[in-house]
Amino acid sequence: METFDPADLPELLKLYYRRLFPYAHYYRWLNYGGVIKNYFQHREFSFTLKDDIYVRYQSFNNQGDLEKEMQKMNPYKIDIGAVYSHRPSQYNTVKLGAFQAQEKELVFDIDMTDYDDVRRCCSSADICSKCWTLMTMAIHIIDRALKEDFGFKHRLWVYSGRRGVHCWVCDESVRKLSSAVRSGIVEYLSLLKGGQEVRKKVHLSEKIHPFVRKSINIIKKYFEEYALVNQDILENKESWDKILALVPETIHDDLQQAFQKHHNSLQRWEYLKKVASKCQNNKNDKCGPWLEWEIMLQYCFPRLDINVSKGINHLLKSPFSVHPKTGRISVPIDLQKVDEFDPFAVPTISAICHELDNISTNGEEKEENKAEADIKRRTRDYKKTSLAPYVKVFEQFLEKLEKYQKGELLKKSDLQKDF
């Protein structure tokens, strides 16, 4: 794989936007079947250009317009915003107060940096295969809730390109949700309370809500390998002291002594569970299985940024955007293969451009009308690069969306028929 050099971005992006960016799919998505007039035309995009120039309120008339502009401006980053009451590009011609954000997908942003207090392998913007499991668990937990509890059907999960994942919920009714309901959803999905000053962030009530129970069951599948082996959270005194901070003082001594005698995290965890089940519940600290779950949740449960999700006009990085620091493409994640997703296998822009070059030199050289040839080539091009499987995932997502839209249209027309 070609190593990525940010200095190459201008050239690489030029090629990417001309030959590889999947405009047709992209437009299919954001146009949502053309059911609502001007839905695509009223959508805000923002571009980050070379030298960190940031432009907002970009909007486009159609797919062709979008392509042309993107190729012209060569954005380093693309963000997607809300669908507004008017064309965003004309917002300063609109009467004051009349220009309003009206609809947007419900989005989530899960960032590995928010787990720095509980991962020992990396910190800040770094990730590795050991801590990536946190994202795996987060996707399973959040996606299950979105699907089974809230009934959301069209959920697109995307790798952010560096240290996290995004989720776009695209159901028609969801796009219309108010800011209050969006906040409520994030609250429902949140279990950790308190920032750096708070040591113990999870407090379970006696009655365990099904959402919590099901989330714990998901974490249980990964906990041993992730926490006890890879993260080794009870490896030594320094690390297990952090766990002890989460359990009642009454059992500290017992655990400290016992831990010295055990050889690994697995043994120590088993012992901790045993002691917890025996100790008495007192006023502030619970014991028994609750204690075990509270620790597991603090170390593994997803951490959401409420600000990203609650605002209808919030801008979020677009799928298939390039990450300027890593060069990786923000690719969709196959929900059937979440456990196998490897962020380090995600193609970089330099890699796929390189792949493209190789194909071109080897491929056909039919000289038809240049424009036609360009289009033809482009529709084949991404398919022959490592980008292909990810576009396929996106395609499947779109097909499901479109099938549903067709079904809804049929239902509507059925209702309207007067007999």
């Binding site: 409520g184 609250e187 009655k207 809500h209 129970r213």
Partner: protein
Amino acid sequence: MQFFGEKRRKLRLAGDQRSACYPHSLQFYLQPPSENISLIEFENLAIDRVKLLKSIENLGVSYMKGSEEYQSKLEAEIRKLKFSYRENLEDEYEPRRKDHISHFILRLAYCQSEDLRRWFIQQELDLLRFRFSILSKDNIQNFLKDSHLQFEAISDEEKNLKEQEITASSPSLTGTQMGSESIYKIPFADALDLFRGRKVYLEDGFAYVPLKDIVAIIQNEFRARLSKALALTARSLPTVQSDERLQPLLNHLSHSYTGQDYSTQGNAGKISLDQIDSLSTKSFPPCMRQLHKALRENHHLRHGGRMQYGLFLKGIGLTLEQALQFWKQEFIKGKMNPDKFDKGYSYNIRHSFGKEGKRTDYTPFSCLKIILTNPPSQGDYHGCPFRHSDPELLKQKLQSYKFSPGGINQILDLVKGTHYQVACQKYFEMIHNVDDCGFSLNHPNQFFFESQRVLNGGKDIKKESIQSETPQPKPSTQKTKDASSALASLNSSLEMDLEGLADYFSE
């Protein structure tokens, strides 16, 4: 058009058209009324509803909401004013129609300011909550199903299937059994306050809400809708206010204390100044008794005290001349210069009698006004002793009045439970040595009047009928002058076209 009523209308065409319009004793007031009524009826309906809402406010302060006393007194009040409250009663058409129309009229009056709106919404919410609380299980079902919310209870089979999940999710279901409680399946977004805190079971986009929690959801829905509607109505208000027939009435409604306001001068001149000292211990409520004592001792009262006490004195019958004499005599004892009194204080006294400035004849303060506004600070003697005094000092004062320890404790308990007016009623009973004061206290002058009645053996010194307890022919005559004079000049056959007003309520 009322879509939700259509189905029922068709079923009941045979003979029951009227009740089909109002299938339930309570409603969300989604559709404004669209008939013609006379201006008199317009006014009467509105006034009755204001009376009802004020009662609700009073009861809410005097008793704990939802307690037996609260419920029974509120029901009595509603019934007395002939509004709807129960299902399954014979011929509820008139009360429900009255309820419907009067609600919309009051929207016009109470949309005008943030405070008015807040007050109106609060009382309407309490009314809704009460009506909902007395519905039977079946009636709840029907009401919810018929409403725009279309909440439906889930079948017993579904209940069994989901029992574990539902009981594990809802804090209001204590223990592990759901019992016979109904569970309602509603779209999750309609149960925001429940699901955000994970206090309800969610499945496939629906919240499974036990009956106990449904009330909260309905209230939130009602509040949100009414709030929005009032904001809309406020925008159309300038047009409404330009209607000469409505303007005085609407202003009067939102500013009045309906019921006896003790501003009438019917008893003016019946009190002489030398009676005041003895009256203060025998017939004054404790708030005025303490103000009088402070005035006598300090030969002075600050502004808050002068307002509260001065207007009270006017209400018991002091004339302007008497008032001027009274205050001047006392202030001079405090070494005040008579000229200074004339310059500084007499103007204010004349002002409060409506003889200066904008010449409003100020009405004596009601209990609620005294309890809820302008709390006293250091050096003040106004306010309500039960509300504003330190409990220890209150106890000492009651002991100095030679009350029995049992009675004092009763009073202190009531104060602790924030039932200030009931505590004052207890004071009344102890001062007069009666078991039951026989009235619901909401005004210091009412205290005085009732006290005089007891002491004078029922001899009524006032001309007009007063109490809202005694049945009276409607309409009540003690409205302020504005509305009466404005309407008196109108032909009673003038019709109020409510349909025209409907535009002010809709989007």
